[in-house]
């Protein structure tokens, strides 16, 4: 018996599928409907087999009707399947729960020491000027720490240094300026006094002091020397001002007061308005409202001459910024000791 491919029958089958699908309320029943309608021996396949017996004239119209039915069935089953999946997912999501308010499990996130943060910031600020960072020893010779820097043995300036003397006959460097001396010496002895010299040295320096809140036997400096013909006092002050404004913001006040350092002439001390008291005067700034953050000056001609640079032809400047002091000012440490207390609760707050 041939397959009934009349329009009426196909239309009736479409209505029957809609009814069958409507009765499905479980995924496994949907699989039965899929098998019955789309399976190898399902209704749709059987109808397509009947196309063989249709005259060529009628075939396009009948095929179109069958395709329409097939599309209806596939779309209906897919939609039902998606509805089941959505419902299942919704159910699962509503059942699952993770209490993310419980403590995390993590090694934590560490912190970089504020002195290092300041050092890295200054290095970045100075990079466009072409400075090279150079490391040097902390156990130094008298020559590199003092003699070559125009601090003869019996000069009162040595009192300023409060030097530690080691049993090896050396000193603990009282300033990172000793690296400057080493660089100048190296340029003289091994590089035919090559210019320009643009070198920064940073790290620890030592002072033999009785320690209290404001005095520590160790502190950090960021020392810089630039030697090249034509450099002036105005350049020195310009560069320091630039660094301090970059570090602390354009509104921070910067001033320079006269100082004496044997290795520079003129010598001046850069100061910023104290961040702890906002310039009102407090223990951190000795009541002045200004905090001295380093020492600076034009490289003394005796230092240039010591390393056979001609002071009539070249000039240079040098400065040493106290990075521990800069850090204290940046993060409002009440005194210098607090910078070195290594309280991880504090250090981790500084990001």
């Amino acid at each position: 018996m041939g397959v009934d491919l009349s329009r009426a029958h196909i239309s009736e089958l479409g209505a029957r599928f809609t009814k069958d699908l409507g009765a499905v309320d479980r995924p496994e029943d949907l699989e039965v409907v899929r098998r019955d309608w789309l399976g190898k021996e399902g209704v749709v396949k059987e109808l397509f087999k009947g196309l063989r017996d249709v005259t060529p004239e009628e075939k396009p119209a009948v095929a179109a009707l069958l395709n329409e039915l097939k599309n209806q069935v596939e779309a209906g089953i897919d939609a039902k399947e998606a509805a089941f999946k959505n419902a299942a997912l919704k159910r699962t999501l509503s059942e699952q729960f993770l209490d993310l308010s419980l403590p995390e499990s993590s090694p934590g996130f560490g912190a970089i020491h504020p002195v290092t943060i300041i050092e890295e910031r200054i290095t970045e600020i100075l990079r466009p000027f072409g400075f090279q960072n150079i490391s040097g020893p902390e156990i130094e010779t008298d020559y590199h720490c003092f003699d070559s820097l125009n601090i003869p043995k019996h000069h009162p300036a040595r009192d300023m240094q409060d030097t530690f003397y080691t049993e090896t006959g050396h000193v603990l460097r009282t300033h990172t300026t000793s690296v400057q001396a080493r660089v100048l010496q190296e340029r003289h002895l091994f590089e035919n006094n090559r210019l320009p010299i643009k070198v920064a040295s940073l790290g620890r320096a030592y002072r033999n002091e009785t320690e209290d809140a404001s005095h520590q036997a160790m502190f950090h400096q960021y020392e810089l020397v630039w030697i090249e013909p034509g450099l002036t006092l105005a350049h020195l002050m310009g560069l320091i001002t630039h660094i301090l404004k970059e570090l602390y913001g354009k509104r921070r006040k910067v001033r320079f007061v006269p100082k004496f350092y044997p290795y520079t002439e003129p010598s001046l001390g850069p100061q910023i308005d104290c961040s702890v008291c906002k310039g009102e005067g407090c223990g951190a700034c000795g009541g002045a409202g200004w905090a001295t953050v380093g020492g600076s000056g034009m490289v003394h001609r005796n230092v240039l001459t010591e390393f056979k640079f001609d002071p009539e032809k070249v000039s240079g400047f040098a400065f040493g910024l106290g990075t521990s002091r800069l850090a204290a000012q940046m993060y409002n440490f009440p005194h210098l000791r607090a910078v070195y207390e290594n309280d991880l609760r504090v250090l981790k707050e500084i990001v």
Partner: protein, 708 residues
């Protein structure tokens, strides 16, 4: 030095300085700005405002009021009102002859005068003294003149001086009893003031008790002299004493300042207009003066153009520079050289000790203008960026890795105490000798340089655990120090990166407590903690582009059975492990703690810089094998042996299990060998062959057996 505003205001017109706001007054700011840095402010109804000034080490002329007035005058251009002085000193010589037998005494003057009894100072004069009345009034008066004019003077009781005043050098170590009642040894070569029988004073430092002025003194010999600053300094240092006088002399007194100071003294002591309230005034009896060659008239020249360039003020005028320098005491002559003007300056006598070249003039001009008037200018940028410092390169990689693993950077001291040295010596015989001692440490805790950072980091751990931190992870990049086995020659040599004679850079890490900062369920075992710690070390090593391996280590500061060396390939970079319990106890750390110390130079040498990453798209194939490993043997050793075999298809070797049956005398450690080639997929028979070869190698060459 103490700067009495009441004394200063008699010398020059001053900006405001109200008692209530002296610390923030315009005068205080002016003083700071001209180089008289105020370190303290005292206020009293008697003395008024007194500033404590931190004077510059090269400026003896900043130690007294007249010197301060000169600086103010150069700034404000107000003129100094010189204090009244006596007209002339008598031509009659002092009753005691003076013999100046050393040129280290550049000038020597002796004024003989009577001392009235009683003698007291006017209140306003006494108010400008630190401890008025503590000494005889004539001594107070000398101190007053010193505060004003900067010339230290000393008074001998004339009746206690025997026959003659001799200024010469000590030919041997002498012992004296000084005015402060203490006995001092005076080194050979010191300048001494003697009479025919005894030492009267150590020149420029302190007088002796034997010629001290007392209430019964009726006649004094006032000494005013200029002594060689270096000689005074050496003597004072050797005697272990620092007096007001030595402070002045060391910084250099005004060679022309003796006579004005003595005339001021005579004026104050001998007339009712002076400082003495008593009706009885002093009478000058005689005056003797002796000098070596007169001080030089030093000339320094500088062009106006140079000054303008240095301060970047094109409109700085000759007239302004001249006025400021004159107020500082310079003799100023100007001449035209081309289009520029050149100043030829005669250095004032009180500045002969520090003004020597044009740079000093730049400083004086800049200071008198105020540095705030310098038109600051940025130096030129440089696009030729130099090579980065190794430490910078290294830390740029290492610090983020440590931070990401929860480690916080700390900074500890470079010192150890003797007790700490002894603790380390008890763990490692001979380590004390490696420590470099400090000869003159003021603090006991700073007596030696540290040879390892272990104790300091343990103290950081202990302190932070006591602060209540659950997990403490700290790291530090620092130097450690040691006596070298061979003494360095000290000859200059080209710099070698990170190579020093007595020290080296180390990266140190330490941990105590829980690994997880908020692990609330269970405490990790020591083994788990050690593995986590090792993981952080591995992160550090990976941040350099290389892989961590470990080997045997024998650090005396770590637990002998719980430590390993840190290696990359065959290079040993340092060590890590559980801290020795004795160190932990000494640092009062209750938890077990882990420590790692890596040599930064070694780390720097293994950094992988430019390698192109090589990965294979062909599938990796792994095989596991379980081997017998001794109870106290490092399982990682076998990984190293396999890696050293350098099999061309073996891409990784790892440990995936470590198991021990209680009844067995060994551990069963499972290793995973992963094979992968960059050019093709490996066949199973190839892998079987490779496994057989590696197993045979382990067995025949290294005695490693398969677990039964």
């Amino acid at each position: 030095m103490k700067l009495y505003v009441r004394m200063l205001e008699k010398l020059i017109e001053l900006p405001e300085c109200p008692i209530e706001t002296a610390a923030k007054s315009p005068l205080r700011h002016l003083l700071d700005d001209v180089g008289l840095e105020v370190k303290g402010v005292e206020v009293s109804s008697q003395a008024g405002v007194v500033f404590t000034i931190e004077s510059l080490a090269n400026r003896g002329d900043h130690l007294y009021a007249l010197g301060a007035a000169r600086e103010i005058s150069a700034r404000t251009l107000a003129q100094i009102k010189m204090p009244s002085v006596a007209g002339q000193l008598p031509e009659r010589k002092a009753g005691v002859p003076v013999r100046r037998a050393t040129d280290k005494c550049l000038r020597y003057a002796l004024l003989e005068m009577t001392v009235p009894s009683p003698m007291s100072l006017r209140n306003d004069v006494a108010a400008c003294l630190e401890e008025p009345g503590k000494h005889h009034a004539i001594v107070d008066l000398l101190n007053y003149v010193q505060q004003e004019f900067g010339q230290p003077m000393h008074a001998f009781d004339a009746d206690k001086v025997d026959g003659e005043i001799i200024v010469d050098l000590a030919t041997r170590v002498e012992e004296i009893e000084a005015l402060d009642g203490k006995t001092y040894k005076v080194p050979e070569g010191s300048i001494l003031i003697r009479d025919r029988k005894k030492i009267l004073a150590v020149a420029g430092v302190i007088g002796c008790a034997n010629s001290m002025v007392t209430e019964s003194t009726s006649k004094v010999l006032v000494e005013a002299a200029i002594f060689d600053p270096v000689s005074v300094r050496i003597t004072a240092r050797a005697m272990g004493i620092g007096t007001e006088a030595s402070h002045f002399f060391e910084r250099g007194c005004d060679p022309e300042g003796i006579l004005p100071a003595l005339k001021r003294l005579v004026y104050l002591a001998s007339g009712s207009a002076g400082a003495v309230s008593s009706a009885d005034v002093a009478h000058v009896l005689g005056f003797t003066y002796s000098e070596a060659t007169p001080p030089e008239k030093r000339k320094v020249s500088i062009a106006l153009g140079t000054l303008r360039a240095q301060v970047n003020l094109l409109r700085l005028e000759e007239i302004e520079v001249t006025a400021r320098l004159k107020n500082l005491g310079y003799g100023v002559e100007t001449s035209a050289v081309g289009k520029d003007k050149v100043f030829t300056l005669t250095v004032p006598s009180w500045r002969l000790w520090d003004v020597r070249n044009p740079d000093d003039i730049v400083e004086d001009v800049a200071r008198s203008l105020s540095f705030s008037r310098v038109k600051v200018e940025l130096p030129p940028l440089d696009y030729d960026v130099p090579e980065r410092d190794p430490i910078e390169l290294l830390t740029a990689r290492v610090r983020p890795a440590l931070r990401g693993n929860g480690f916080t950077e700390v900074i500890t001291k470079g010192f150890y105490s003797l007790a700490e040295v002894e603790l380390l010596e008890s763990l490692e015989k001979g380590s004390a000798a490696r420590h470099i001692g400090i000869k003159n440490a003021l603090e006991q805790n700073n007596s030696h340089m540290k040879i390892t950072n272990v104790i300091h980091l343990m103290r950081v751990l202990a302190a932070n655990r006591k602060r209540g931190l659950l997990s403490v992870k700290a790291f530090e990049l620092c130097h450690v120090f040691a006596n070298p086995e061979q003494l360095p020659s000290g000859e200059p040599r080209p710099r070698e990166v990170l190579v020093y004679d007595y020290e080296r850079d180390v990266l140190t890490m330490a941990f105590a407590g829980r690994w997880s900062e908020a692990d609330w369920r269970k405490e990790e075992s020591l083994e788990e903690l050690a593995r986590s710690f090792k993981g952080s070390i591995a992160s550090v090593i990976r941040s350099l582009g290389v892989e961590l391996s470990v080997g045997k280590s024998e650090s005396a500061f770590l637990h002998p059975g719980m430590q390993a060396s840190v290696k990359v390939g065959r290079s040993v970079l340092g060590f890590f492990g559980v801290i020795h319990p004795l160190i932990r106890e000494a640092c009062e750390l209750k938890d077990a703690a882990l420590y790692c110390e890596l040599d930064v130079l070694a780390l720097y040498k293994v950094i992988r810089r430019t390698d192109t990453p090589s990965v294979s798209d062909f599938p990796p194939i792994s095989r596991d094998i379980t081997l017998k490993v001794g109870d106290k043997e490092q399982a990682g050793r076998i990984v190293r042996l396999i890696e050293e075999a350098n099999h061309e298809s073996l891409s990784a070797t790892s440990i995936v299990d470590d198991f021990k049956k209680p009844e067995e005398g060994f551990r069963r450690v499972t290793y995973r060998f992963t094979f992968q080639r960059p050019d093709r997929t490996l066949r199973h028979d190839e892998i079987d062959y490779a496994m057989a070869g590696l197993t045979e190698l382990l067995k025949s060459k290294h005695g490693v057996e398969m677990a039964p």
